[in-house]
Symmetry: none
Subunit: 414 residues, 2 copies
């Protein structure tokens, strides 16, 4: 059972808007057990739209089209669909009543173009749009294949899909059981991770696949399985994930839509601990990550961003002597920063960073990308040195993630 | 001259990641005068990739493929391209040297899968990847059509496209004279901006178009012109932009790839002024924005993130009395924070924020989204209240941008 998503509109092709509809539909269809096998985008051009629909029907059971249903001249999806299915447009009384009501409610004059929204291809099933004026459309071919057309406005598309399409799709198709599990790792590169879990990967059954999804400082592992036996699939997946924890558990910081900062929040909350940061090279980024979590005020107290050395001295008690001997990018300096912020802000965990984000400031001994991180709690202060590479933006990002990962490990340890 | 973008990867189809590469490429190709006419996405499946490439070549002059070049088993783009172009993989000495160097620099052991990155199809031109280990590839067909393969990791893709592809594309194809000018505004909504500049928009010549590109807190105005007379087009564009400055100059903070924080850096540098922030609701985000600029250490000294009230009292001298009477989200509080950080960190400009980012903490009088901002310099302390809406992430972002825009205006004024 596979599907194709077609998006229509020049604004997508020239990159003026980012297509978020297709990702959302991909996820929702996946939950129903429908695999999106293709996506395509074409402009507001009749021939291209006809071609795309015809290709998509040939290679899929389901085609979902978004976009091109607005009231303006460049929106031609509806007429093109009528042509494709060899039918004419007729007025739909229910849609007409709805559109009229909306304009009355909003106290807006109604234009002919607005009333034209009530004209629909005669052979389609109309999908009611509670969130707007353009209805969705459901077409069936002789082979019982389905073509659905939805508006491009995200919240209208989502409303129609959820309220109208989901029940119709479940009734029309016999859907399999699809299960996804995503495991989130940090602190290990894609290829090293792959090596460590090669035994698991090599013994995956044919109906379960694994994908590596790397981003800066992190790798997500996504297992996807399909089976007629939902319970069995669920258990198989559990077993695989459990063996994954056995092998690389120390790198796993969460599952599905977790974030590192969210999970640190949970760890802090559950142990009633508080945190503060003393940042140099990350310039407030760790603080920003921590406070991006709703409710973070219950465990995050604040930070000192000590970018200039004089602020390190004045606010964090780093001595001039230390800075002269070791420099600001040193183990001694971050250790002092982490311990001092912990003490000064009266928190359980203090985190500190100091490094050379670049592009300037590197030396032979301490090249651009050199970063020291320290995490201090009541038992110990751990420190670690890294080279984060020569891209300023990535160094800041990677240092933030690495520091939070060290905090996570420290919280689990103590 | 038209192009197709093909993205490869199951993670895109099932909606696990949002495809931002295609939009970026659509914009960049547009700047070169190359129109993206189609987009397609397929999974990590050889037959589908072969089909997609073959379709795309048939209907376009240029095909750009992203994704599927990683070192793991599910990445099959390179082998599929070799099959498509009927060639074998050979080792590229330059790539091998580069990959080896990267691993050495980062002090990491190198695996066979990493070295495999140096294997490239014999018939392609290798596109050097300064930002990662997977090189890009440039293929030409007998009809001089071009197929480019790039990694899916956005920053690697962007580096290779900008540094390697743009010069090659300009040399290979005869591209029209296209001129873009992008003017960056802040502090005014899209529809208000449109109203103010309607006279300019209505009198644009037919060969120059205007696009509004809104993002959180900002609107970019992109003028695109094409002409056989490059010099004339250049002058016309200058005249339009100049009239734009006359009408809405106060909202314009830069052009092209400027950022607000970059331009504030230039203003601070040129006047030899320094800055520090005292942040509550933005939680270090303004500090992060300021320090994202290379060289910011010459004007940015540091920050106090005072998330908890006790930190506001202890570090910024806000009185308990004031907090009791006015609350932390008040004009009196941000005024004190901005003036105090200016004084304490001995800087010329102090910026402070306090607000309710939500989702909790709102009241009838101070609903979620209520934010106070203060900017203090040697002449005055300005304060302003805003409602940033009910989305936490957007409120933090919008408050950061708005605060920096207030700093910009203050720096220009004094």
């Amino acid at each position: 059972m596979q599907a194709e998503i077609i998006t229509i509109g020049d604004e997508i092709l020239i990159g003026q808007i980012i297509d978020t509809n297709s990702s959302w539909l991909g996820q929702e269809l996946g939950k129903l057990g429908i695999r999106v096998a293709y996506r395509s985008s074409v402009g507001d051009k009749k021939e291209d739209i006809l071609d795309a629909i015809s290709n998509a029907i040939n290679r899929n059971h389901l085609v979902i089209i978004t976009g091109g249903l607005g009231p303006t001249k460049d929106d031609i999806t509806k007429h093109t669909l009528a042509e494709f299915f060899n039918t004419t447009l007729i007025e739909d009384a229910k849609v007409k009543e709805w559109v009229t009501k909306i304009f009355k409610q909003r106290n807006l004059p109604m234009l002919d173009t607005n009333l034209a929204q009530a004209m629909v291809p005669a052979s389609c099933k109309v999908l009611f749009n509670r969130s707007g004026t353009a209805p969705g459309m459901w077409f069936e071919t002789e082979q019982r294949k389905v073509v659905i057309s939805l508006p491009g406005v995200p919240f209208e598309m989502k409303t129609i899909f959820t309220e109208e399409c989901v029940p119709l799709l479940s009734a029309h198709f016999t859907l399999p059981n699809i299960l996804h599990r995503t495991i989130l790792t940090c602190g290990i590169g894609e290829s090293f991770l792959a090596k460590k879990i090669s035994a698991i990967e090599d013994t995956l059954p044919a109906h379960i696949t694994l994908a590596y999804l790397p981003s800066v400082g992190m790798v997500r592992l996504r297992f996807s399985g399909s089976s007629t036996n939902q319970q069995l699939l669920f258990e198989e997946m559990n077993q695989i994930v459990s063996s994954l924890y056995d092998v690389v558990g120390e790198y796993i910081y969460g599952e599905e839509n977790d974030t590192l900062e969210m999970n640190i929040g949970l760890l802090l909350k559950s142990s009633s601990k508080t945190i503060a940061t003393a940042e140099s090279c990350t310039g407030g980024f760790i603080s920003h990550m921590l406070t991006s979590v709703p409710g973070s005020s219950s465990y995050y107290k604040g930070s000192v961003v000590a970018y200039a050395n004089e602020i390190k001295i004045q606010e964090l008690g780093v001595s001039e002597e230390l800075l002269k001997t070791h420099g600001a990018v040193s183990e001694a300096c971050v250790k002092q920063m982490a311990e001092q912020i912990r003490h000064k802000f009266k928190v359980d965990v203090g985190v500190a960073t100091s490094g050379i984000a670049g592009p300037d400031g590197g030396t032979d001994l301490k090249p651009v990308g050199t970063v020291w991180i320290a995490v201090a709690d009541e038992f110990e202060t751990i420190t670690a040195q890294f080279n984060m590479g020569d891209n300023r933006e990535r160094t800041i990002l990677r240092t933030g993630i690495t520091a939070l990962d060290l905090v996570r490990k420290q919280l689990i340890k103590h």
